[in-house]
Symmetry: C2
Subunit: 159 residues, 2 copies
């Protein structure tokens, strides 16, 4: 039977919901950035995760799949799928690590270097857009705090 509603609902997922929960805020910030970036990276047949892996491959010196997974805190299978996709688009290639023939290292192709350069501009622009609500000091502050969380200071020699 149709039950009459006592007016509109109390709470239509008010933005204040879970606003104290940093894990939730990080997940939501990431979803926002991903949605914005994916829409625009689409023209290069990339998504934000492919872009991230490609960037790390570019700036790293021939990382292995395991190193990529550890660095990105993703599981090896997720990284393998991304590398498969990048490889079949001709953006990276796997080669045998001369220092350890059981291991592959991943390198960007010329095409990959070209695409990642264009994609960087897009991702940079997306970042500027969603950070436009912060002033430059706040942006720097956010960067510092996130860096501290992601790369906690340790007793290890940094060399």
């Amino acid at each position: 039977m149709a039950v009459a509603r006592a007016g509109k609902r109390r709470n239509k997922l008010d933005p204040s919901l879970l606003a104290d929960d940093i894990t939730f805020l990080i997940a939501k910030a990431r979803s926002m950035a991903t949605a914005m970036a994916n829409q625009r990276l689409n023209r290069y047949d990339l998504d934000l995760r492919m872009y991230s892996v490609l960037s790390v491959v570019k700036y790293g010196d021939g990382p292995s799949q395991r190193e990529l997974a550890d660095f990105l805190v993703l599981d090896a299978r997720q990284v393998m799928y991304v590398i498969d996709a990048l490889e079949s688009s001709g953006l990276v290639e796997r080669t045998t690590d001369p220092a350890d023939r059981r291991s592959n290292i991943i390198r960007a192709t010329e095409k990959g270097l070209d695409v990642v350069e264009k994609a960087e501009l897009i991702v940079r622009q997306v970042e500027e857009e969603y950070l436009a609500v912060l002033d430059p000091d706040q942006v720097q502050n956010l960067r510092t705090l996130l860096n501290r969380v992601v790369n906690p200071p340790s007793g290890l020699d940094e060399d």
Copy 2:
């Protein structure tokens, strides 16, 4: 042919790599939190995304799938899969919205409320662990900055 390597590699994905890139730092922070949380939520057959949806369902007042997707900045299909998983575990149920019979609203079951309460403790503990590198002022600062990014101030009436 086996090429001798000139010493060890220049750069084994040094933590400073991409450390200026806030989009990357957010993605990595989210991956860290997800990896830590998933490992421990496993005992309730939950992952962090299921937990997030279940939390929003709990605190929202019978949101629709569309409202959940908008709120979490996920696409409707992703949210549908998560709700399917939660429903088949008996943690939520879909009911027809009495205000709009074409639409479903999602509500937590008794079991769902019980599980989400236990999961909250786990997620809270994970958060404390990865934020332990920050002092309380920095934690509050991070919360404020992320909130501003995720819920940008708008001209809308907040009531």
